[in-house]
Every structure is written in structure tokens, then in C-alpha cells.
Amino acid sequence: MTDIILDIEHQQSSHCETGVISTLLRSKGLNISEPMAFGLASAMNFVYLPIVKLGGLPLVAYRMPPKTIIKTVCKKLKVELFSQKFSDQKKGMQALDDELAKGNLVGLQTSVYWLPYFPEDMRFHFNAHNLVVYGKTAQGNYLISDPVFEHLVECPAEDLQRARFAKGALAAKGLMYVIRNVPESVDLTPHIYSAIKKTAKMMNGIFLPFFGNKGIRHLAKKIKLLKKEKPKYQKLFLGNIVRMQEEIGTGGAGFRFMFASFLDEAAKITGNKQLVEAAKQGTEVGDNWREFAMDAVLFCKKRKELTLDDVATKLTSCADQEQALRETLLTIKPAA
């Protein structure tokens, strides 16, 4: 067997799912940036689910659940996406090889933990990572464009198989996807407006106190109540929020900068001045989230200067700002 190496323009991304869809679409000639994919999918959100515990800490997320972005973007842009899951691991690996042999870039959902090229401290059992396979060496190693990495990487077949078929929450079951067809040209403008409207609507949250603005305020209340907990739990609780906001590839400030970047690009495409202002407001929101992360960590380091109430107040100010941003987004109308 000889090497299979397909053409790929690797571009480092902040987030795996947006990065993969951007790479796959660009390979078919449709130029959709990472922030554009994120924005079109109305993926920005906030979730605080105290019932779901990960490693003993509540689930905190800044976006819609995994797979939403790829599905929504393809549906909206009328991109033909072929995806497949497998119960038989061998068949799953064979199907990957077949697609590569046909000359197709293949997107995969995998676990993070079993990918040997990840830094040790960032490996954890999270099953909804995404990457693109662009080839296979004669020795049987897979050539991978992992969107969150600066450079292309290589992964032994055994490890990739384990990563694709890791069991547990959000198990990938070998999910692979290939883009078959893209429309020749796409007018993004109507999609931009409808996506912004949807994001704005979701920012309020639904009747449950776990999502959107309500979720942020709920979390702020919970931070105040941490006073009753042991210092160690206080630190781990706050640290967990900061990690979900910054560490796991969000482009900074829990996707808020990526969203502002989308608004900025949308302004360029549509020529709508309202969007320029909204992008600036989005940046302020992101900056405030970064300050919240700093405060949270400052509290963990030396507790005298800053109280839990201060940290909670900062978080509440994030909620206030997002509410104002929502109002702005709702006023945005297509430029006549």
C-alpha cells in the first residue's frame, strides 16, 4: 500500500466543530470562516446544568450541544452531508479507508482522551471532539487535520479506532461524515439575519432557569451560596467555570469573541451599520467575561481581596450586558 495524501488547507481554529465544518466546506470551494459557521448555526448560548455532574462538578457550557453546528450549517446552506455510524469497528475503519481512497476528506467524531497527540493535561474523557482525516501512510498511520492544533498531526490506526469507538456519554459510535455536494453560490445575507434573530431569542433562556440569561443569573446565585462549602470545593467550582469558558477551545470568553467576530464579518457582507455597532457591543460582553474569569481565579489565589459576592456580582454584570446585547440584536433589520 502506498501513502494516500489528499489536498488540505489546514487552518487552525478555536473550536473543533466549527473548525471542521469550515475546513470541509473550504475544501469544496465554499468559503465559510469559523466564526461565520458559528454564527449561522446560532450556536452561542449559556447552559448551567447543576443536575449533570462531570467529575463531581456541574455542567457549564457556552454553546449549543455538539453536532448542532455541523447539522445546522449544512441544512441552511443546502450542503449535502453524508454521515454514518457503525456498530462494527472494523467496518467503520474500512469505510474511512474507502472514502479516503475515493479522494474525500473525512470528518470524524472522536474521544479526546485516546488521541496521543493531545497534551497530557488536556486529555479527558470527552467524546464529542471533531477532526478531519486527509490521508493514510503506507505504515497505516492516519494523517489528521485537527482544527484546534497549529500543525497537521499523525495518529496510529489503533488509537484512532479507540478514539472513534470510545463508549460513554456522547459516544461517537464511529460517526464519520463526508460532504458530497455544495451549492455553487450561496447568498449568506438572509441566513445571517435569521441566525442573529434566533440567537437573540435563545439568549433569554426558556422557562427553566438553566439556559441563556436565566442560567447566568442562576449560576451567580449559586456562587454566592458557595460560602457554605469548603474552600477546596469553592476553588474547584470556580475553576471549572473558567476551564469551560477558556480552556476547551472557545476562541476566548466562552465563544463571545467568536460571536462578535461573526457580527463583524456579517457587517462586512451586508454593509449594515447596525451590525458594526453590535460587534463592538459583543466585544465588550466578551471583555467582561474575561474579567469575570480573572476575578474567579483571583478569588482562588488570595481570598482576602475579593469575596464570592464580588465574583457573583461580576457574573451578574455579564448577564446584564448580554441582555442589552440581546436588545440590540433584536433591533437589527435588513438594510433597505
Binding site: G55, K167, A169, G239, F257
Partner: protein, 138 residues
């Protein structure tokens, strides 16, 4: 965040990797900027990693004293907990809790051990054994 304010803190947790963040350039528009780390973020990461390491060290010590089974040590070492191990193995949480005691673990059938060894990428022998050198408690 402005491009010039993107932190470049060479975080040890990145292990030489860079991450992409979005920031505003001099013209007021967004661009992707590589960052070598942010001290605030890496502090949070390190805190979580240290906590896991501490739990793992304690489990090793307890396993060496025969208070818990080697499974307790390997579970934590491989970043599992009872919940995630239950999800991956298909055992119930109460079963895993029992398997964490040496008395039950030592009598486990090969079939059950094989389930663990499969999802944890360990041989049955590795699963049953502990690292040789005795790390002294502080």
C-alpha cells in the same frame, strides 16, 4: 479584546502548543490570533489537574495498604470516575463501587476484568498490579 492584549503567557499546560483566539486588530476588525497561553486559564487547568493527581496518589497509597482495590488507582490515573466508568463499561455504579474493594475485586471473574481491561486499555495483569516503587507519603 484587542490583538495586542492577547495573553502570551507560555502556559506549561499547553506543552508548547498554541491556541487560536479571536481579537480586534488596529483597523477595528476581528482576526484570529495565536496565543501561547493565559495565566488565568492555566491556573484553573492546573488546579483541576493537581486535584486529580492528589486523588490518584491517595488511591495508590490506599491500594498499597490494601484498603482499596488496584482498580481504584487505575480508574483515577486514567481520568475516569465512577460515573464515567459506569457509562463506558456498562456496569452499574453500585457494582463498580463494590469492585473498588479488594475483597470483591480479588474474586472478580476474568470476564468482568476483561471488560475493564478493554475500556481502560490495560492487560488484566496490569489492572491487578500497582506500580512497584513505593511513593512515600508526605
Amino acid at each position: 479584546m484587542e490583538q495586542k492584549n492577547v495573553p502570551q503567557d507560555n502556559s506549561a499546560t499547553y506543552q508548547g502548543q498554541k491556541k487560536l483566539v479571536y481579537a480586534v486588530d488596529e483597523t477595528g476588525h476581528y482576526t484570529g490570533v495565536q496565543s501561547t497561553g493565559w495565566e488565568v486559564e492555566s491556573f484553573a487547568t492546573q488546579m483541576a489537574v493537581d486535584d486529580l493527581q492528589q486523588q490518584t496518589d491517595e488511591a495508590l497509597l490506599q491500594a498499597q495498604l490494601g484498603e482499596v482495590s488496584p482498580l481504584a488507582y487505575h480508574m483515577l490515573r486514567l481520568r475516569f470516575d465512577i460515573v464515567s466508568l459506569a457509562q463506558t463499561t456498562g456496569f452499574f455504579q453500585w457494582q463498580i463501587k463494590r469492585h473498588l474493594t479488594p475483597k470483591v475485586f480479588n474474586k472478580l471473574s476474568l470476564k468482568k476484568l476483561a471488560v475493564y481491561s478493554d475500556v481502560m486499555k490495560l492487560t488484566v495483569d496490569e489492572l491487578r498490579s500497582l506500580p512497584k516503587q513505593n511513593t512515600t507519603p508526605e
